[in-house]
Amino acid sequence: MALTCAVTGTFVVLRGLSFIGDALAHGVLPGIAAAMLLGVSGMLGAAVSAAVMMSGVGIINRRLRLSGDTAIGLLFVGMLSLGVLISSRSLSLVGDLEEILFGDLAHVEWSTISIQFIALLGLAIVFAICRRPFLLLSVDEGLVSTSGFSAKIFHNVMMAMVATTVIVSFTTVGTLLVMGMLIAPAATGALFAHRTSSMILIAALAGLASVYFGLLASYHYDLAAGASIVLTAVILFALAAIVSEVQKFRIRRNDVDHEQEHPHAHGHVHI
């Protein structure tokens, strides 16, 4: 789960897709609740929900000419409310609602872990194929089309990656917290990385460390596992941000000292 989130989260952070990712994470709730009522796989329900949500955002955005965030916001609250309503219709689901929202790491089955591993492999292959248009998308959407790639197709592929990550990860940390694992490790990577590959690597390490230390804290202090993991990821980001700022301060101070010692050391003009 940590590795899947590292790959996808990197582009969520680079492209500023946090809001749609968060909305998607909440928007899968009615599908999961309905799937539980019908006795089918929660992941299947989540996938149907995600597809409905993405289509709805697209239709509102294009046909009604409302801004993207309005479309996302509308679907976000609409789907969340629908999910709560479906859950509240069945007394047996009220207890499950907490599990859907916050995950239940203690009862994760091998089948879930296998699905997550297959999803990780799939996402890694898709990323390897699409890395060039994804990079262009991160700089400017216009550059994708003018470089011979379809901006629409690769944007949709990226959104499908986000949806897949949410769908396969919600059983572990829950729909409310999955965004934490998508954003926090990737944001930690963004603080230090100078290349996308190193950002994914740092995000993966930060994600794995969050899972390890989060579970350790959860075990020793009897805390909710999902929340412990996500909180650890956010704390790791905060610590990394402090280290990064100290580093920048030192570099600036060294530059000033160097400039005072050698006032005209740089012959070229910065523009």
Binding site: C130, R132, T146, F149
Partner: protein
């Protein structure tokens, strides 16, 4: 007889069915420079995006190198206005410039020695080679703009579409852009450039003044007459 590189026949550009600028007629040859001048919202960027194939014409004919706009990504390069997301990107300058080769490489072709040589040469020409290994987010606005210019040069295209390439640049940067455009034109590249600055139009083959319509089009000494500038800007700019 040189062939036509960009031809537009009573072109109407806009968004969906809503026209922004109507009646654009162009017949550009290799090595020519067309400068689009106008205020914000005058239609400069809309026209450039249409030429780049990013938005469809509302109506009218448009061909670049004999094809419809957007069909020749290897031969047409586009510099968008303010690619701002670079501020957060963990990408080195060399990576951003290498993106200029993606149209030639597609999804799978590996970056060759030739591609690397073109990238190094493009960075050198844009005066950004000393920053090659720096993350683009650590550069000043002017240096970022130079990086994006180098990316456009790395495409080695026959048509350059530049949306405000001098934005954020000081006088040295402006001179650099002018000399880069002159060098590209000398090797037969057709350039269309949008700008707010009348000075950028000095060496143009032709100038088009826009104010949600074509106010004037022609050589600089004709199109930049006071009467047209007044219609375009509402006042006469000092030359």
């Amino acid at each position: 007889m040189p062939t036509t590189t960009i031809s537009a026949d009573h072109l109407c550009v806009g968004y969906g069915k809503r026209p922004v600028v109507e009646g654009v007629t162009l017949d550009m040859r290799p090595g020519e420079l067309l400068v689009l001048i106008g205020t914000n919202g005058s239609g400069k960027s809309t026209l450039l995006k249409t030429l780049a194939g990013l938005i469809n014409p509302v109506h009218g004919g448009l061909h670049l190198l004999g094809k419809h706009a957007g069909q020749l990504p290897k031969r047409v390069a586009y510099l968008p206005q303010h690619p701002v997301s670079s501020h957060t990107l963990p990408l080195q300058v060399r990576d951003v410039v290498t993106m200029g080769r993606f149209a030639h490489l597609g999804l799978f072709k590996p970056v060759t020695k030739d591609d690397q040589t073109i990238v190094e040469e493009s960075m050198r020409r844009a005066g950004i080679e000393e920053q090659a290994n720096k993350p683009i987010r650590d550069l000043s606005g002017g240096q970022q703009q130079r990086t994006h210019l180098a990316q456009v040069l790395a495409r080695q295209a026959e048509v350059l579409l530049l949306d405000e390439p001098t934005a954020g640049l000081d006088i040295n940067g402006r001179n650099l852009v002018a000399s880069l455009i002159a060098a590209e034109r000398a090797r037969g590249v057709t350039v269309v450039m949008a700008t707010h600055e009348l000075l950028d139009a000095e060496h143009a083959t032709s100038v088009m003044l826009l104010a949600q319509r074509v106010v004037a089009v022609g050589p600089p000494d004709v199109a930049l007459r006071d009467e047209f500038l007044r219609q375009c800007f509402g006042f006469t700019q000092p030359h």
